[in-house]
């Protein structure tokens, strides 16, 4: 009896607890939370691209105001935080369980091969995920928390005062060490997504001769374009700060 079974028993959902705590149920949670994060990334990227507009941060600050004040977006953002936490904790628990299932003695010779996915990425999802989580933690502290605590300067746009998130972001992107950390993290996210995108469909049982090749194709493109889009922004901003272009 897991704690979840005990928790859901009084409301008559023992079967649902059993489902969620089964090996397939656990992977399903990973898949659904992962897919939700996959949906979120392009939205985030569209916002970040506002940083490239040459208007001293007006469009970016208006965008960040919208993101922090629109009730629908605020609701979805709580779902997003929940997904990140769920995906991380569940991932770590599965990682621990899988290591235990493998046992203490590994193979003297390792010759891992697979079909139709990046085997190296697939077998290192936990490590990649841990690096991504560290990035998200730094990222949330640096931008999200400062914004929430109101530790960002204010700016006047057309007679109204807005939080000037543009300034700390551009300042962070003027640090070459941070730019490298950011770009490397994006590469790691790309590798994680390269396996994760198509893997989440397979886990949901969505494997079909007509659609799977297409899902794998889109997944590879997505895993390249989205991290590339994120990574290019600090590089462009850094270049601008140093008058490279």
């Amino acid at each position: 009896m897991s704690w979840m079974t005990n928790a859901l028993k009084p409301i008559g959902l023992v079967w649902f607890a059993n489902f969620l705590t089964s090996s397939i149920g656990k992977k399903l949670l990973m898949s659904l939370s992962g897919l939700f994060l996959i949906l979120f990334l392009p939205v985030h990227l569209i916002g970040n691209l506002q940083l490239l507009t040459k208007d001293a941060g007006v469009s970016f600050n208006l965008y960040s105001y919208f993101m922090t004040h629109n009730p629908l977006i605020k609701t979805v953002s709580y779902l997003l935080y929940l997904s990140i936490i769920l995906h991380t904790i569940q991932g770590l628990l599965l990682w621990r369980k899988n290591k235990k299932a493998r046992g203490n003695i590994g193979y003297a010779v390792s010759a891992l091969r697979g079909d139709g996915t990046n085997v190296k990425a697939a077998s290192n999802m936990a490590w990649l995920g841990i690096i991504i989580f560290v990035f998200i933690a730094v990222h949330m502290y640096q931008f999200w928390l400062q914004m929430k605590l109101g530790k960002v300067p204010m700016v006047m746009i057309e007679g109204t005062e807005y939080k000037n998130l543009y300034e700390p972001v551009v300042l962070a992107f003027s640090n070459p060490g941070f730019v490298v950390f950011y770009v490397v993290s994006m590469i790691i996210i790309g590798i994680h997504l390269n396996h994760g995108f198509q893997s989440s469909f397979q886990t949901l049982g969505l494997n079909h001769k007509k659609y799977t090749p297409f899902i794998k194709y889109i997944g590879r493109i997505y895993a390249f374009i989205i991290p590339f889009g994120f990574a290019i922004i600090p590089i462009i901003v850094y270049g601008r700060n140093n008058l490279w272009w």
Binding site: N18, S23, G25, K27, K100, G103, Y107, G116, S123, G205
Partner: protein
Amino acid sequence: MKLTLKIWRQPSQNVKGKFETYSLDNVSEHMSFLEMLDVLNEKLSFEQKVPIAFEHDCREGICGTCSLVINGQPHGPLQGTTTCQLHMRNFKDGETIVIEPYRASAFPVLKDLSVDRGALDRIIQAGGFISVSTGQAQDANAIPIEKDVASHAFDAATCIGCGACVAACPNSSAMLFTSAKVAHLALLPQGKVEAQKRVLNMVRQMDLENFGNCSNITACEAECPKGISVSNIALMNREFLSASFSSNDAN
């Protein structure tokens, strides 16, 4: 051929094992891998040493008794082949071959290269059968079933339960094995009757046996001597999802 063999030796389940190195001369390239081990065992017996324990039965590639991880690969380097059907011509003269048992907590080593794969039997006992009356042989022929579906079911049924999927999986997951059995029976009209109960019970038993979870690494499919496809895992996930939400089982 002259070979150097690094073989895992372990006297019993709870005793620590280690690799021993043996050299073997005059190995014919026509020998199967198991015949090569037979020759080594004869030599060891002649020298009053304990022969190496390994499992084998039909030696025709159809029973699933042989195992071994050869140079890091379950059933060796040749794809779609069991160890008993792997011949020494696939190795080079003077080569060093590392032979290990399957590694998984659910498959404890009994002795040397022999492991206990009883966990797979218990998964089958949990639901890998049809208990409703399906009539006589001619009744099966009278049931209309599309050729493609029959072929799909047959492909899944070719699983010999050797456990190479578990051995190959970095998570030691038994999803490919379990899904092959679930798919085989769920696709056929006779198996559909108990499909929901079957998938729930088999997945439950699989979880009890301490196998790992599927990360869709696909090493199982790559190493499976019968080429069982990971699409069966997706099919099992669908079956499990629908059975969890709609079966008559209150739990």
